[in-house]
């Protein structure tokens, strides 16, 4: 593996893992707040940091069929959201390669 340090973001408002406060995403990088996950409100990001990706699987969501994979905090292994690998509906294609973080699993760190 080699030694990796966590990536640290430098903006004023940063989303961290609720469990261990590891930096996950920059508040200003939110693409859309109009998402819902298992725990309620969720945000769409183009980039997140310090995460591990699980196996890809097919899931039926409210907006149709997608291939997604769960993402976990690299530090504490807590699931924090998922990543879209593939969307079957043309209208949902924009989500491919992007990440969802669930609001309920996050905290803000400064």
């Amino acid at each position: 593996m080699g030694l990796t340090y966590n990536v640290y973001l430098n903006s004023a408002k940063i989303f961290g893992c609720k469990n261990c406060k590891t930096h996950l995403a920059d508040f200003d990088d939110i693409i859309s707040r109009n998402f819902r996950g298992q725990h309620g409100k969720a945000f769409l990001f183009a980039t997140v940091v310090n995460i591990k990706q699980a196996e890809a699987m097919e899931r039926n969501m409210t907006t149709g069929r997608h291939i997604v994979r769960d993402i976990k905090c690299k530090q504490c292994d807590e699931t924090v959201g998922w990543k879209y690998d593939k969307a079957y509906e043309a209208s949902e294609k924009y989500k491919e390669g992007k990440f969802i973080l669930e609001s309920e699993l996050l905290c803000t760190v400064t």
Partner: protein
């Protein structure tokens, strides 16, 4: 350059003829030479004959080199080595003098503190007064000494008068000194700041004078230094630089070292033959493997005397080995998380370990006992200590962290409360790696994004930062503290000059991107640059010409299925040994 030399030759030739033709000149000549060695005193009288012989028998060049240059440098070299008789014989036979009489006079005037004489020679007025319009061919007399390109006569005058001023101060002739300052130094219109500094010295008690004026121990020494400064401004053809022959030899040797790909010895090359190191002397094979760690090895570091090696690992331990027997001396187990960094104190009695559990620990090397635990005070304790660096006294240490609120702390182990930092730098950035120069003056801190921050350890003040082109993972200093090596995540190692802040060398080839990879200088005279790599290999470059000397197979794949050499370190005392640590949990020698 060539023009200058020709002028020099005309000058000395013209001079000799004149000394035989005109009596006023000759008397002046001896007066000027009064204080110099026998060489300069005796040569003018016997000079004319040999010059003719040269032109008749020998060509003007020595295998393509200017005969005058070679002979004059040889004369200087002979004098340097103390063969003054041989030097004067050579001078007589060849007809070349080491220095023209006016240079000799200038030299003795400076060394004797005969300031008005020195100024007169420098400006040429000396000649004009005593020998007005004697010869049209040696017009340099009218201009004074021939200067080097870009040299400023006013500045040289300033130096001379400054010396005069300081010497007067030292003799406590304050009134005269003040007159010199007002009437001689100020009108020159040179460096205003220096003038101000000089005027403050008037008030300065005599015992502080030398340190404040940056003056060496004795008047003689300071005059010699002045002469050296001045000689840099005088055309080299007129006044040959001090120890020129030795300087040339140094250059030849350094050049041969630079050309030698596997150069790994601190013994300077011989002048008798061209130098080349054998590849067999280069440590390219694994001679020993240390397999005690149960996790990836993330940092290895030799003690300063080369007798011990410390290894830091993911398995939360630090091992200390003897580098002769490779017996494990200590296993330091007190860490609650992975250990990412170790650093030996300059006297090798203590070692500091930096762990992801947010603590740095100082151990006594002799006993292996925990000496003190250091912890950054911060709002949330989520940040590991990334690195540490020792001050030259082995008693103070600086620790670094990614925590933006408390990224650098300075500790003093001698204080009554060693767990309280003596200085915490203002918050606002993150630090992944630090180093302190051997003289303890400069702290370089690596902000992982793209900034190298430089701090003055005396004042804690920050110097202008050095920006790099990308994300960096590690930093290491050269032994003399003049250059740093940084690993860039784009897969390059850059060597940066701390004084000019320029990237002076770029070493390419190693794979990097995801992980922290470390590099170091290596070899007997720090001729190599070594780096780990994410392809499990060790890359060795030649420091001067950036050639990739060797790609050594390093470490096999670890648990994550990836092979990665995280860290390398070259034994500072045994040039034939370096250590590497990697994912396969082993340390290779």
């Amino acid at each position: 350059m060539k023009g200058d030399e020709d002028a020099g030759q005309v000058f000395s030739n013209g001079h000799t003829t004149s000394s035989n033709r005109s009596t006023p000149r000759k008397s002046l000549h001896t007066a000027l030479n009064g204080n110099t060695s026998t060489l300069n005193g005796s040569s003018p009288t016997v000079k004319n004959g040999p010059i003719k012989r040269i032109s008749a028998i020998q060509s003007a060049t020595y295998r393509g080199h200017d005969r005058e240059e070679v002979v004059r440098i040889l004369i200087q070299g002979l004098l340097d080595m103390g063969y003054s008789d041989a030097a004067s014989v050579l001078s007589t036979e060849s007809g070349y003098e080491l220095e023209s009489p006016s240079v000799a006079a200038f030299r003795s005037a400076i060394l004797d503190g005969n300031w008005s004489e020195a100024e007169a020679i420098l400006l040429g007025s000396h000649r004009l007064e005593q020998a007005p319009g004697l010869h049209e061919d040696d017009d340099q007399y009218g201009e004074g000494l021939v200067l080097a390109e870009g040299a400023d006569r006013g500045e040289m005058l300033f130096w001379i008068r400054q010396q005069k001023f300081l010497e007067l101060l030292e003799q406590r002739e304050l009134g005269v000194a003040l007159t010199v300052l007002r009437q001689e130094l100020t009108p020159l219109g040179q460096d205003i700041h220096q003038l101000h500094a000089l005027s403050t010295l008037l008030m300065c008690p005599p015992e502080d004078l030398r340190t404040k004026a940056h003056w060496p121990g004795t008047v003689e020494e300071s005059r010699k230094m002045l002469l050296q400064d001045l000689s840099r401004s005088i055309a080299p053809s007129v006044m040959i630089r001090d120890h020129r022959l030795a300087e040339l030899f140094d250059q030849v040797k350094q050049n041969q070292i630079n050309q030698c790909l596997y150069h790994n010895t601190s013994i300077p090359p011989s002048l008798y033959s061209d130098h080349l190191c054998d590849r067999d002397d280069f440590p390219s094979r694994t001679s020993f493997q240390l397999e005690d760690h149960t996790g990836e090895v993330w940092h290895v570091q030799f003690s300063h005397d080369g007798s011990m090696l410390a290894t830091a690992s993911q398995d939360r331990t630090v091992n200390i080995y003897d580098t002769v027997t490779f017996k494990c001396l200590h296993i330091l187990k007190q860490h609650n998380a992975e250990v990412t960094y170790v650093a030996w104190s300059p006297d090798d009695t203590k070692i500091i370990t930096c762990s992801q559990d947010c603590k740095a620990r100082v151990f006594d090397v002799e006993t292996g006992r925990l000496h003190v635990t250091l912890e950054h005070q911060t709002v949330d304790s989520n940040y590991g200590i990334t690195a540490a660096a020792w001050g030259p006294d082995s008693m103070s240490v600086v620790t670094a962290s990614h925590d933006r609120n408390s990224q650098l702390c300075h500790w003093n182990l001698l204080s009554s409360e060693p767990e309280r930092p003596v200085h915490v730098w203002p918050r606002g950035f993150r630090v992944q790696d630090v180093a302190i120069t051997d003289d303890g003056h400069w702290l370089v801190a690596l902000d992982p994004q793209n900034i190298i921050r430089v701090f003055d350890m005396h004042t804690y003040r920050e110097e202008p930062p050095i920006k790099t082109s990308g994300k960096m993972t590690s930093i290491s200093l050269s032994r003399d503290g003049s250059t740093v090596l940084v690993n860039l995540a784009i897969g390059e190692v850059h060597m940066i000059d701390l004084a000019t802040r320029e990237t002076v060398r770029k070493f390419r080839g190693q794979k990097q991107g995801e992980f922290v990879i470390r590099s170091c200088f290596g070899g007997a005279a720090e001729n190599f640059v070594v780096s780990g790599s994410e392809d499990g290999k060790i890359y060795v470059w030649h420091k001067e010409n950036e050639t990739l000397v060797e790609t050594l197979s390093g470490h096999g794949p670890g648990q994550g299925g990836k092979e990665c050499v995280t860290t390398v370190d070259w034994n500072p005392k045994d040039a034939g040994m370096f250590a590497s640590g990697g994912d396969d949990r082993k340390v290779r020698m």
